[in-house]
């Protein structure tokens, strides 16, 4: 059913009791053209573009829990494309362009809001870093502007720019912003389902059927399912699945935390991030302040994160925004993120033929949900990595051609 003003009016007459479900919950079939492991945003987007653009409609998405219950539903929803290197600019900008038409494309309001995004500079080193990155971003044809401290103050009057680490300036991407994370998962799921993709929840992949180095299907908690091609998009659990398939992934899984305050009237109309004092902040449409914390400094699959990390975020937050000290924080949570040494993702073929991995998005992959799904779908369909995805091959950890986004990705998500 198409969502529009007429369907809304029609359903109002029946007191909204007759809306059809947004997607089916089918039993798994014995065989598919392609199986996607992981029903987060990236997995669902992959399935959607496989069906929509690659003509591969016999697709199942297998999710061990519920749709979007992983990092997709746990992130602070920041979208931007102001990365340093050409390879990153290509994939993240590809994604921002898809975001710009996504609500129309999916007929689902993903609440993409290009409210602008500031990277604060507090030190001479920060100024040099945003200077270098800002110019590199320009050269890639992506918008970025330098602001001096007065312009920053004008944009965010509530910010204390004279704290212990005074604000000296900022890098602004006006096309950056936020989106509604759950809506992204739901929107992709609904459209993929409409084109025949089977979305199967509560179905964990426990093994791979590999014959003579070629994947033939997967073992799941709901039985064996055959497939010609398998794409694994399992975020924090990617290395666990790689190990089952018999190879290693250069990933470390750590908890990353976030928290939200009680809702207040609109007071912050942009996204603010600071690598130096290690905090980032935006305001949701409900009015909650959404605050991103850091990750624990050790591997962990305990989906909560250490208390000291929260303590560590509150200091700089209150220093930058003194009014926050009188707000109550309502919820805190953690997600297990899969981090690579160069802070860039892995989209790659693997030692097993027809088995593809899309992982390593770590602390910052939400923004690339459309872009990653799009190029990964084409890679799976063609059997060769899409040109935008190719540099993110796992081979780079052996050739040394890393894509080092440490500065652009470290705290800023």
């Amino acid at each position: 059913m198409k969502y529009n003003i007429f369907s809304l009016a029609r359903n109002a007459r029946t007191y909204h009791q007759d809306w059809t479900r947004a997607w089916r919950s089918p039993e798994p079939k014995p065989e598919y053209e392609a199986i996607i492991v992981g029903g987060g945003g990236h997995g669902l987007a992959t399935a959607y573009y496989l069906a929509k653009e690659c003509g591969v409609r016999s697709v199942a998405v297998l999710e061990k829990g519920w749709l979007g219950g992983g990092n997709t539903g746990r992130n602070t929803t920041i979208v931007r494309s102001n990365y340093l290197w050409d390879e990153s600019a290509a994939i993240y900008e590809h994604s921002v362009k898809l975001w710009e038409g996504l609500s129309q494309d999916l007929n689902f309001n993903v609440m993409f809001s290009q409210r602008g995004l500031l990277h604060l500079a507090h030190t001479v080193h920060d100024l040099q870093e945003i200077g270098r990155r800002g110019h590199a971003i320009w050269l890639n044809g992506i918008d970025s502007e330098f602001l001096d401290v007065d312009q920053v103050r004008e944009m965010v009057p509530l910010m204390n720019v004279n704290g212990r680490y005074p604000v000296l300036g900022a890098l602004l991407q006006r096309r950056g912003g936020t989106a509604r994370h759950d809506a992204v998962a739901w929107g992709y799921a609904r459209k993929a389902d409409e084109m025949g993709v089977d979305i199967i929840q509560n179905c964990a992949v426990t093994g791979f059927d590999i014959q003579n180095g070629v994947v033939k299907g997967v073992e799941t908690t709901r039985g064996r399912i055959a497939a010609k091609k398998v794409g694994v998009v399992a975020a924090g659990h990617s290395s666990v699945l790689a190990e089952i398939a018999g190879f290693r992934m250069p990933l470390e899984s750590v908890p990353l935390q976030a928290l939200v305050s009680e809702p207040v009237k609109p007071c912050i109309d942009t996204v603010i991030m600071s690598n130096a004092v290690h905090v980032y902040l935006s305001q949701s449409d409900k009015g909650e302040l959404v605050v991103g914390a850091g990750s624990d400094a050790y591997i962990s699959y305990a989906q909560r994160g250490g208390f000291d990390v929260l303590e560590h975020i509150m200091g700089p937050l209150v220093e930058l925004f003194p009014f926050v000290s009188r707000l109550r924080m309502l919820r805190q949570w953690g997600g297990i993120v899969d981090v690579t040494v160069d802070r860039s993702p892995i989209l790659s073929k693997t030692p097993v033929e027809n088995l593809f991995f899309n992982c390593g998005w770590g602390t910052g992959g939400f923004k690339c949900t459309p872009g990653s799904g799009h190029v990964f779908a084409h890679s799976i369909a063609n059997g060769e990595m899409h040109p935008i995805a190719a540099p993110f091959s796992i081979d780079r950890f052996h050739t040394g051609a890393l894509i080092d986004e440490g500065a652009a990705a470290a705290v800023a998500h």
């Binding site: 470390e252 591997i299 305990a302 250490g306 040494v341 052996h398």
Partner: protein, 99 residues
């Protein structure tokens, strides 16, 4: 994981410590003789188990010494800590550690 037992100082607040990743990795004896693949494995590939993990820690805000730890990455519970020169302790397979 609120306290960690330093082999030298005993149980102390977890924030005094810092983790330095996987333990017991030996630098290749003859770096010039190994392949790019082996060198990449040594530098970039780390174990990332969901379960028991051997890792290196320092007691930064205490004695500042290095030690090794065995920790369960599902519960964050420590199973054992030991000095770098100690043999790797035997752990019973059902030991989940103290949270």
């Amino acid at each position: 994981m609120l306290q960690i037992t330093c082999p030298w100082c005993g149980p102390r607040d977890a924030v005094e410590f810092h983790c330095h990743g996987e333990a017991h990795i030996a630098r290749p004896e003859k770096p010039h003789e190994i392949s790019d693949a082996e060198w990449g494995d040594y530098i970039f590939f780390r174990k990332n188990p969901k379960g028991v993990h051997f890792e290196r820690w320092t007691h930064d805000a205490g004695c500042r010494r290095w030690f090794n730890a065995i920790r369960n990455t599902v519960t964050d519970a420590f199973i054992a800590t030991y000095a770098p020169t100690d043999p790797i302790p035997e752990i019973p397979t059902d030991d989940q550690g103290d949270a």
